[in-house]
Amino acid sequence: MPLALLLSVAGCSRSSGDAPPDGMVTLLNVSYDPTRELYEDLNAAFAKHWAATRGQQVSIQQSHGGSGKQARSVIEGLRADVVTLALAYDVDMLHEKAQLLPADWQARLPHNSAPYTSTIVFVVRQGNPKAIRDWDDLVREDVTVITPNPKTSGGARWNYLAAWGQALRVEGGSEARAQAYVEKLFRNVPVLDSGARGATTTFAERGLGDVLLAWENEAFLLTREVGQARFEVVIPSVSILAEPPVAVVDHNVDRKGTRAVAEAYLAYLYSDEGQETAARHHFRPRSEVVAARHASDFPGLKRLTLAEVAGDWRRAQATHFADGGLFDRIYAPRAD
């Protein structure tokens, strides 16, 4: 009985991905948490676009969660046609752990395969009672900072690297200064949530902390759509150029016969309509035309690239987030 059950469950999942006879095609987009609203919009628009140009019905399923957890699901067999994750490192793992796509996946689409970008900004309470303007304010003794745990959250890794990078690249910055800065910063963090949405809840609903480090799109979602007149966005002078990448999962699309539509779907993200939708959801568009139209929505700030801050993801991971890395040393038991 349980065996029969297992077999029937396995059977179900096998047949669900194949193209049903009526010519309808189904794509699975495995993404991370803050893109939920964006892709709801984009998927509907792309389905319309695909039906109009190719005359084929397409239905796109979305799966959201922590970026690393999502990548692991795909490695372990979730048959994603495309992944749209928070970090290139998570997509790299699809190659390294399971050979689901080639090593040079990031060169296959324009702009490092990131059709939209984001950055890390501050959210403070209404009226900015602690007068938080820039990074230096975050390490003041009277300020508490909310950020998720870089070990479990892709967004938190961007937070951490933004903090690290500005201390490293500021006038007179150095590795030692950067290390001292992030140590001081994390001593001001009272709670380490496991994901970005969890940290937002801690800050917004529990009333904990004076400032929240957040994705720019999450910050605007919070101030404009959720907690109107309860929060303000503070744009620091320097932050990081966060590039959430997208990729076709070759192994899966070839087995399912969905390569053409999966590639068109990602290309659509770069189209004018795609860029416009991204901008509406507070992701910074790559298209200069669309960016110009939304210039007032995206405050100017200097954004350091990952290469300037930490080299590449492999090095960032090894230096900062791996076991015994710099982040662990912040919490290492001290002699005192």
Binding site: K69, K151, V191, S194, T201, R206, D323
Partner: protein, 280 residues
């Protein structure tokens, strides 16, 4: 327990036993042994290094300590709730009866979110507790409270049927022989309830050890202070460190299994003592 039964409803002992082994093998043994296979990529030194980092040790202490505290609290208050449900008839009893099961049915993440909202410094309970200098959310106390919440039904539901089987006559008989209420409880009721209490304790304790969803919200997840073992395992997985995650999982598995085995033996021993008692 192992007494042969004369009337067998299920077909044949061998078939039933064979099926039991097959079933448990399929859904428990094979998945767990695959866990062991995963750590084979680690050398013994690497394994030992992974499972004895200060962070891991702090997490074991918190997980086992808070689970123990929660299970003990549930033994005391679960017994009380079971007693009230069995011995009294009162309006609202059905509601109370269903309330007991709620932690079983509720997704633990919802429980965690709700408890955190209540106990955070702006919450209904939290604001007063904090005024008294007691911080619950984001401390080990919060962890123990979440674990108490999810463990409650186990004690109530294991003690209740045993309590129902003990006639009020027994208490009355003890009273007519001059026993005080405390003596009646200690000498008459407690020995009969002990095996059930122990089972309830074990179940609540085991459940708490593996709990993740309700705890991650209220614990604050601070390394070395409020990090539970299941979170540490997830953290390893988030770094694609499968071998490290399973190494810690195996320590948990070994510790939990030995504890459960020990408690089961104790349970068997106390049951035998109970059956051997004259007049029982």
């Amino acid at each position: 327990m192992s007494r042969p039964t004369r009337h067998r409803v299920l077909p044949g002992f061998r078939l039933s036993l064979g099926f039991s082994w097959f079933y448990l093998g399929l859904i428990v043994l094979i998945p767990l042994s695959s866990l062991f296979l995963r750590t084979f990529s680690l050398s013994w030194e690497e394994f030992w290094g992974t499972v004895t980092t200060p962070r891991a040790l702090a997490a074991y202490r918190l997980s086992f300590g808070a689970s123990l505290a929660a299970a003990l609290a549930n033994v005391v208050f679960g017994l009380l709730v079971a007693w009230v449900l069995v011995r009294y008839r009162f309006p609202g009893r059905d509601v109370l009866e269903s309330l007991v099961d709620l932690p079983f049915a509720l997704p633990t993440a919802v429980a965690g979110l709700t408890l955190t909202t209540l106990f955070s410094s702006k919450g209904w309970y939290g604001q007063y507790l904090e005024a008294l200098g007691l911080k619950v959310a984001y401390t080990s106390v919060g962890v123990a409270i979440a674990l108490t919440f999810i463990g409650l039904p186990f004690v109530v539901r294991t003690v209740q049927p045993v309590l129902e089987d003990i006639d009020v006559d027994v208490e009355e008989a003890a009273a007519t022989l001059g026993a005080s209420p405390w003596q009646t409880f200690r000498r008459v009721l407690f020995p009969a309830l002990f095996p059930a209490l122990l089972s309830g304790f074990t179940l609540a304790f085991a459940r708490a050890l593996g709990e993740y969803g309700s705890v991650v919200f209220i614990s604050g997840n601070m390394p070395l202070r409020t990090e539970i073992v299941p979170l540490l395992i997830i953290t390893r997985l988030e770094q694609y460190d499968y071998a490290g995650a399973t190494a810690i999982a195996i320590v948990m598995l070994g510790a939990s299994f030995s504890l459960l085995l020990a408690v089961n033996l104790l349970h068997r021993w106390s049951q035998r003592r109970l059956e051997a008692r004259p007049g029982a």
